[in-house]
């Protein structure tokens, strides 16, 4: 896919490029390419902003935040709970820049909707990142073991992966959500991660299968390097790119999965909340109080979109020639 821009033909391009970039290390190249990906950079900034906003505003784990209202306290409805946030300047006929008492409005029993949305964002982010971390860890271990050892170990692990893959993701997540939904976001995230690793496991296995045939691994084996050392020192570093990209995208998918589960009533249970649950709770309010519907949706999209763009940037950075295929 780079032919148009860079490579005039198999004859010239390798040297033309090879000579100009030999001076850079792998890490520098990755960083350089990532920061050149403008959408990924924007995604990084937006995600950082959302995370900081969600956790600093209403506080987390007993640490108070700078926002004075809680997501649990009800209050008197002000102006039917309409949002007080205004971003349209006065000379354009708006109310000028103003945050106001309830920037995102209030829900039907007077809870500050900004606080509620922030709480939802916290929970969704926690679940998504936990799923990403756990699924990546398990998937990498299983995939690496299956890919390196082959034989009976591989057969067993891959059949296990097959079994897990046969069950549609949403379905197994729904069962887990139903079982674990009321134990809090952390437990839910951990357990979802434990069932969502197979895709990543297959990916890592594929990488291992091709890498273990490479000359440098043969060489390491020939001089009697232990399996452990070959896996961790020789093969794994070469799969880092693939794993990081897949992990990033799995976080983005987990955000959407969690919200879908909560929407179906199978995720985070009341009185705690998540973005998906907020949308589900207020879906009938779309006509009368649309802000109850818009804000959590907006945050889900912001989070998922920025993570997806970061993932795309990472993919470009780690392997600019890899086709951007999403299955």
């Amino acid at each position: 896919m780079t032919l148009n821009a860079q490579a005039p033909g198999p004859d010239t391009a390798p040297d033309a490029q090879g000579l100009t970039i030999t001076a850079r290390t792998q890490g520098q190249m990755v960083r350089r390419r990532f920061f050149r990906h403008r959408a990924a950079l924007a995604g990084m900034i937006i995600l950082g902003f959302v995370v900081v906003l969600a956790f600093s505003s209403i506080g987390f784990a007993g640490i108070p935040g700078w926002w004075d209202k809680s997501y649990l306290d009800t209050g008197a409805l002000v102006n039917q709970g309409k949002p007080t946030l205004s971003l349209v300047p006065e000379f354009l006929g708006g109310d000028g820049f103003r945050i106001g008492e309830h920037p995102f409005g209030q829900d039907d029993i007077g809870i500050d909707y900004f606080a509620l949305t922030m709480r939802g964002a916290q929970q969704s982010l926690i679940i998504a990142f936990l799923v990403g971390i756990v699924a990546t860890a398990v998937g990498t271990v299983v995939g690496a073991a299956a890919g390196y050892f082959r034989g009976a170990a591989e057969a067993t692990l891959m059949r296990l992966t097959d079994v897990m893959i046969t069950i549609p993701v949403l379905i197994i997540a729904a069962v887990i959500g139903r079982m674990m939904g009321d134990s809090g976001a952390v437990v839910l995230g951990l357990f979802l991660g434990l069932v969502l690793w197979p895709t990543l496991g297959r990916l890592v296995r594929g990488e291992f299968l091709s890498l273990r045939e490479k000359e440098f691994v043969e060489a390491a084996r020939a001089v009697g390097t232990s399996a452990k050392r070959i896996i961790f020192r020789h093969i794994l570093p070469n799969t880092v790119g693939v794993i990081i990209v897949a992990a990033t995208l799995s976080v983005a998918n987990a955000v959407l999965l969690e919200s879908a589960l909560s929407f179906l009533g199978l995720g985070v249970q009341a009185p705690d909340t998540s973005l998906g649950q907020l949308i589900s709770r207020y879906r009938s309010a779309m006509v009368t109080r649309p802000w109850l519907f818009w804000w959590p949706g907006l945050f889900i999209i912001l989070i998922a979109l920025s993570i997806n763009f970061i993932g795309d940037g990472l993919r470009d950075a780690f392997d600019p020639r890899q086709t951007r295929v999403r299955a």
Binding site: N4, R178, S259, I279, M286, I300
Partner: protein, 502 residues
């Protein structure tokens, strides 16, 4: 190949079997199946509990329940749910509803997605390409239920309201014209001047079209009429000929144009037959179209007979499609009145107790399918677009495409015959796998739009901690995944001759 498939089937069978164990155990452990009855205030509470306990074998340990379920399955018995309803019946209804929903959505997503992906690849780094890429990423990031609720609000409720007086506000006409200009401009390659001209043309065409539609209140009583049908058919004939044969030789073009004219004319002649046909008659007409057009291509095609037949048959079917849509649109007014001016529905698969002619029944189905289909399409559309774009880009850089160019083949042949045929191979695999996933994956959409499909069968079963419907659901989706993966393999072997032998 057969040995390979047989081996795969055996392995898949055991994989599926193991998965049923996991599903059954997880479902049974996920809650208390008697929860609702424990809060029951009616006098026969104890009897109800005993009844359900016996039906679900709740006094037996879970492995025993699983084995007994498995035993029933082997005998072809899906069992009853916790209230004693026959699961097989429930499954049949749910499956037919879901298939109706996902087939339409998947087919459309494939066609539109692949076309957009290919154009995007052929116009790499153009404005169109960047827009499509960005849009695809947005689609990946959209929660489907959020989109579904939005669609209900804006595409159904407000659209139906608007249909009462379908005048398009000038600002909207302006926006649509601008959009059409941008699409034209983004699709054009060349210097700034050419792109600006395209933009202007698009702007003018879009503006005029929507202004006309608004002024004539077209949406209140839509339809093409014979002249417009003929014009669309002729334009389609030229386009399809360019794609399938090129315009260098006149044979295929004349065959296609003839097919278009005959098709449009016969829509008038066949008026009585088309007033209230059956699907069988429609299928017969389609077959007749193919036969007549193949004859036309054979007769007129000359040395390019093969291409002429392709062009003529495609044009014939396209014209038939246009006539079909025209008839549907003509029936719109009557249908709209019959459903009290709310043709776009938000709930269910059909209007209860609605009876009408063939076209109105179709409209009713279409009106119910529209929103959930749109919601389902968005995400798979993005997937297909990205996938086929990547696939085409990869193929377009292959040596054999360069060889094809070196032979002096026209770009059309290079793209359609050499690149697309190869790019299709991975896409086909995706199609098969995706379709399997969609059968069980429409859970959220079905939930929002109130379709009594597979998703609801599963969710309700899960909420009630009732393994029987959940397992019935899983057997269908799991088998679908296995079968469609197999179909993918077979298709792959069919499309790629390198696999046929080894």
């Amino acid at each position: 190949m057969i040995v390979f498939i047989a081996r795969r089937l055996v392995i898949s069978f055991f994989v599926l079997l193991a998965a049923t164990v996991i599903m059954f155990v997880l479902t049974a452990l996920s809650g208390d199946p008697l929860e609702d009855l424990r809060q029951d205030a009616s006098p026969n509470k104890a009897a109800k509990i005993a009844d359900r306990t016996e039906r679900m074998q709740l006094d037996e340990p879970i492995p025993v329940r699983y084995l007994s379920w498995l035993g029933n399955i082997v005998r072809g018995d899906l069992g009853v749910n916790r209230d004693g309803h026959d699961v097989a019946t429930m499954l049949g209804e749910a499956l037919s509803a879901t298939l109706q929903l996902v087939i339409a959505a998947t087919v459309m997503a494939i066609i539109i997605g692949v076309i957009i992906g290919i154009i995007s690849a052929l116009r790499q780094y153009s404005g169109f390409d960047y827009t499509v890429t960005f849009a695809a990423f947005v689609c990946f990031s959209l929660p489907i239920f959020w989109i579904a609720v939005m669609l209900k609000q804006y595409m159904a409720i407000e659209f139906n309201n608007w249909l009462k007086d379908p005048a398009i506000p000038p600002t909207v006409i302006g926006a649509l014209a601008l959009l059409s200009g941008l699409v034209f401009g983004a699709l054009t390659v060349g210097d700034r001047r050419r792109r600006l001209i395209s933009f202007a043309v698009g702007l003018a065409v879009g503006g005029a079209l929507f202004a006309f539609l608004s002024a004539t209140r077209w949406f209140a009583d839509p339809g093409f009429g014979l002249p417009l049908t003929l014009a669309i058919a002729l334009a389609g004939a030229v386009g399809l000929t360019v794609l399938s044969a090129g315009l260098r030789q006149r044979g295929p073009l004349y065959a296609a144009l003839a097919a278009a004219v005959i098709g449009a004319a016969s829509s008038e002649v066949l008026g009585p037959l088309l007033a209230d046909p059956s699907w069988l008659e429609i299928a017969g007409l389609a077959l007749l179209t193919v036969a007549v057009c193949a004859g036309l291509g054979y007769g007129i095609g000359g040395l390019q007979r093969r291409q002429a037949i392709t062009a003529a048959v495609l044009t014939g079917l396209f014209t038939g499609g246009v006539v079909f849509v025209d008839r549907m649109l003509q029936a719109f007014n009557g249908y709209s009145a019959a459903v009290r001016g709310r043709p776009i529905s938000t709930i269910g698969a059909r209007t209860p107790n609605f009876e009408g002619d063939f076209w109105q029944m179709n409209l009713d189905t279409a009106g119910h399918l529209l929103l959930p289909t749109m919601a389902l399409i968005l995400i798979s559309l993005a997937t297909y677009t990205r996938y086929s774009r990547a696939s085409m880009l990869e193929v377009m850089n292959q040596d054999y495409v360069r060889t094809a160019r070196a032979k002096g083949l026209p770009e059309r042949t290079v793209v359609v015959k050499h690149a697309f045929r190869n790019g299709l191979i991975p896409i086909t695999t995706l199609m098969a796998v995706d379709f399997a996933g969609v059968i069980g994956g429409a859970v959220v959409t079905e939930n929002v739009f109130g379709w009594q499909g597979m998703g609801n069968l599963f969710i309700d079963g899960l909420r009630e901690v009732d393994p029987a419907p959940v397992m019935a659901f899983f057997i269908v989706t799991g088998t679908a995944i296995v079968v469609f993966n197999m179909i993918a393999d077979i298709l792959y072997a069919y499309l790629d001759p390198r696999i046929r032998l080894s």
